[in-house]
């Protein structure tokens, strides 16, 4: 009975202890996030439709990684990837939609 209580307390304490702690990103995590962002940006380049905000975030991500701030670096790289993907969607949509704005 006593052992059961002790186990329960130990489990509860470990849950509380880990609840507020996010696992820190590593250099490898950044490499993966950056590769994804750069691949999406390359695709946006092929459409000649890169956004300045994507480029800004990529630069900031690399700077954060260089400073050893991998949490920030990963977050920025993921943001750059999302922006690059949005610019690709825009470019694809506009391939057809632009004609609707033409003066006729």
């Amino acid at each position: 009975m006593r052992n059961r209580h002790l186990i329960l307390i130990a489990v509860a304490l470990s849950v509380i202890a880990f609840a507020g702690v996010a696992f820190a990103a590593s250099a490898d995590d950044f490499k993966v996030a950056l590769a994804k962002a750069e691949a999406a940006d390359k695709q946006a380049y092929a459409f000649k439709n890169q956004w300045t905000t994507t480029e800004d975030d990529l630069k900031k991500a690399k700077a954060a990684a260089a400073a050893g701030k991998f949490d920030d670096a990963v977050k920025l790289a993921q943001q750059a990837e999302a922006l690059a993907n949005a610019s690709i969607v825009q470019a694809k949509e506009q391939e057809k939609l632009w004609t609707e704005a033409v003066i006729r």
């Binding site: 000649k48 300045t52 506009q94 704005a101």
Partner: protein, 280 residues
Amino acid sequence: MLRRIITAVAIVVGTAQPLLADNAVNPQADFKAFRKYFTERFPKVPLNDFVNGPYSMDAGLRKQWIAIDAFPPYEFAVDKGKQMFAKPFKNGKTLADCFANKGIGIRQDYPKFDAKSGQVITLEVAVNECLEANGEKPLNYNKDDMAAVTAYMAFTSRGKPFDIKIPNDPRALTAYKKGEEYFYTRRGQLNFSCASCHVQNPGNHIRTEVLAPALGITAALPIYRSAWGGMGTTTRRLRSCNSQVRGLPLAGGDELYRDVEYYLSYMANGLPISGPGARP
């Protein structure tokens, strides 16, 4: 069975025709529609005044421009361009040697389609091609010397009507169509096209600026812009528009910049060259 095949072919042909018609390139019809749109939307603006951009739209701004033009801010660029035009290259030739009529009064013929390269040649591209062909370094497409040379060439062409030709060459028609597509395509994080400002909103304000109409918009280039504190070329104007909507600008001389200038200048056919211009 044969009947079914005939019916199927008829359906395919019947549905394909409208698509073909939509994709057909017809610069003359586009020109008419473009001209009609602006003249009907701004019936009080004399046709030739559209080349004055925001000043054709806003009386207060026009007054300021007339005052500014007493001492034109682009004058230094014109003088510098004149000197550069006459200065011999290392091989003894000059910029003037590369152009018809020694480069005087010819700005209205650019951009032109070059059948040899199959590309659109803007005045800026022609200047750099001339330099490179003579063993000289090409100029920066954005400002300074390029703006000076083209300012001088525009100045000697003032009042001459745009005379842009689109030959019956599929490559020229494709370039024209690409230019039209670039003009109407939304881009950048702000999701604006060139047309969002210059077709849908000329005369309206975007922040403190009065938007210029697309009709005749290339006639005043290059320009002195107070916002830049200096001269800028057509390339700079396009690059700046891209950045303002958070789109990454293309490189100077990019095919799409050439094509969009081709499209817009063709739309301005018959309107007078007013460059170099001065803008807020």
